[in-house]
Amino acid sequence: MISRRALELATAVLTGSFGAVVVVSSLDNGIGWSSSGVDAGTFPFLTGIIVVLGSLYNLVRGVLPAASLASVPIAITPLELRRLAGLFVPAAIFVAAIPLLGMYLASAGYVFAVLAIPRHQSVPRALAMAAATALGLYVVFERIFQVSLPHGALASALGV
């Protein structure tokens, strides 16, 4: 179970650290005024400062029990968390597998795994859908629109 407060805090820390990174790295480009006008780092520097300050404000608002927070104390219930993970984890594995397997194999495997392993569909139907997905991608992108999708390290190792 994740409380609304924890989620607010985590997000404020996330945005704040992004802002801090922006501030620090824009210093390399120089901030302020030079012979060629406003320096390249100035604008990012200012936006970074705004992000940091705004995140601090959101952080404080998240810690203080405000009325709006009290009305929804729980942001994500355990069941919802499981559903989220059920969608996101396979998607992340799918993306991680693309450099090795290529887009076609990875997406076919992804569709098959998501449908067959939790038994949402029977194995033959899941197989058919997986094959149809890969074929559809191939026809639409490689054939019709001539966009080459990654074929993967495995395919090039096998010399396909």
Binding site: V38, D39, F43, S71, R83, L84, V111
Partner: protein
């Protein structure tokens, strides 16, 4: 009158067989993304974007804008038949649309929604026809300070009128600016904010951001609650369609009021979602039958639908004439314009007459095509809703992954897209607004350039933003909008403590 001539010329471009076919394809794809809960108009349009790179700009924009109309209509279909809004902007349609459909009048609800939506869109297009070239003419005289002032006003109006927590809007905007700054700086040529990753030199493409923020983010929000598609009958009774549309003029006050709200919210970047809620709220307050709202009132369907479409259409006005999109989808389309080599802004009306008037004419035709197609295909798309979510979700993930990859054949883009997905989920969950974030990513560079050029003109003095009446008005208006939330807060404190937010407002907040 000159406008009418140009418009007629535009019709000769828009009403050709290939363009009519493109409209039909666009509308059908639009209804599809509108109906599917994980996909919306902004990511539908950005998914289609890589496929338009080889097309003529006018054909490409007709395809994309038709998809936009289709998505606006499609969102209402599921709102009414399933009580599941396919689009954030059609949430308000569920309040009265679904009860009416459940009471055995689905055709009446759908026809009323489409009829008033078409009316809203028509008012929006008429506004564009007569106002856009005039605004562009005024804008032709703009220098960098004026441009920066207009950008400033646009961003400030998100903070002042967006409806989300003002500081969260500011954070979202500033993050967008920082993302826009990543890569090579157009003024000095130096490389910025790459954090040591060489591939980031080319910058972060907004398509990647949109795909993650709206596509994956929305999917993650959608998966939390299990969908139960309990459809009411989706059979269309054609006689009832005409009867329902024929009854619309009786509600002309509501129609006109909602269209006005929609146009206003579309031109200032409030967006269709805020427009539909505002229109519904005002209708409930002023209607004589306000107490019956929520049980299937006709005006409860008319008000949000008219405002939604009026806002969606008129959001293209500032995009065309000033280069400032009025909604997230318009921001994506504007990104497309830049990719096709066009420069959005007043010069379009001088250099690209065919493009501009072809697009405006196609809006008239496209909306007619959309109404016809959506009525014909309601049963088909309603059947589509019965496909379980577990099957649709991986397909949407794959579409987003392939879309992000195909923008510039980069695997890093795919990984970033997934990262944007998490950000999109967190932001949606915690009511950070996404539209200003996307807007800042798309036009952040231009705003920065305008600022730096103004500073060059004035040799570093901010006084240039108060140098003449126009610029002063725009800047002061922007500052006023920025301070508006603060003033409202103070006013609320001075009065007695306000009653806590009721159920509708908490629901309204969820989707903004």
């Amino acid at each position: 009158m000159e406008n009418l001539q140009e418009l007629l010329h535009g019709f000769t471009i828009a009403v050709t067989v290939p363009h009519l076919l493109l409209m039909a394809v666009g509308v059908l794809l639009g209804i599809l993304v509108g109906v599917l809960p994980g996909l919306g108009a902004p990511n539908g349009v950005s998914l289609l974007l890589p496929l338009t790179f080889g097309m003529q700009p006018v054909s490409a924009i007709i395809l994309l804008s038709s998809m936009y109309w289709g998505a606006l209509f499609g969102g209402s279909v599921t709102s009414i038949l399933f009580n599941i809004p396919g689009e954030p902007s059609s949430v308000a349609t569920t309040f009265d649309g679904y009860p009416m459909a459940r009471d055995g009048r689905p055709t009446t609800a759908l026809a009323t929604a489409f009829g008033s939506a078409a009316f809203g869109a028509l008012i929006g297009v008429i506004l564009i026809t007569f106002l856009a070239s005039w605004v562009a003419q005024v804008a032709l005289a703009f220098g960098s300070p004026e441009y920066f002032a207009v950008y400033f006003l646009a961003f400030a109006s998100f903070v002042g009128m967006g409806g989300a927590a003002p500081i969260k809007t500011v954070v979202a905007l500033a993050i967008g600016f920082a993302i826009a700054a990543i890569g090579i700086d157009t003024v000095s040529g130096s490389v910025r904010l790459t954090m040591g990753i060489d591939e980031l030199v080319k910058g972060v493409n907004f398509v990647v951001a949109v795909m993650g923020l709206f596509g994956i983010g929305e999917l993650l929000v959608a998966v939390e609650e299990e969908f139960h598609a309990r459809a009411v009958s989706s059979k269309i009774d054609w006689r009832e369609v005409f009867r329902a549309v024929g009854r619309l003029p009786r509600h002309s006050v509501a129609l006109l009021r909602s269209a006005a709200i929609g146009c206003w919210m579309g031109i200032t970047p409030g967006g269709p979602t805020a427009a539909s809620f505002m229109s519904y709220g005002i209708a409930r307050r002023f209607s004589r039958r306000g107490r019956h709202f929520g049980t299937g009132e006709v005006e409860g369907i008319i008000s949000p639908e008219t405002a939604d479409h009026a806002a969606g259409t008129s959001a293209l006005l500032p995009m065309l004439s000033l280069g400032i999109p009025g909604s997230a989808t318009a921001a994506v389309m504007m990104g497309g314009l830049m990719i096709w080599g066009l420069n959005p802004g007043p010069m379009l009306f001088v250099d690209q007459k065919d493009f501009v008037w072809g697009l405006i004419a196609s809006m008239y035709v496209g909306n007619i095509v959309a109404v016809a197609l959506v009525l014909l295909t309601v049963p088909v798309f309603a059947a589509l809703m019965r496909i379980p979510f577990v099957v649709i979700a991986p397909l949407i993930v794959i579409i987003c992954v392939v879309g992000a990859y195909s923008v510039s054949n980069s695997y890093l883009d795919v990984v970033m897209m997934l990262g944007f997905g998490i950000v999109g989920y967190l932001f949606k969950k915690l009511f950070y607004p996404l539209a200003p974030l996307v807007l800042a990513i798309v036009i952040g560079d231009k705003a920065e350039d305008a600022f730096r050029q103004s500073m060059l003109l004035s040799k570093g003095s901010l006084g240039i933003f108060f140098a003449n009446k126009l610029v002063t008005c725009l800047i002061v208006g922007g500052i006023a909008l920025l301070l508006l939330p603060l003033v409202l807060q103070l006013a609320r404190l001075l009065r007695k403590p306000a009653p806590s937010t009721d159920e509708t407002t908490s629901r309204e907040k969820v989707i903004i």
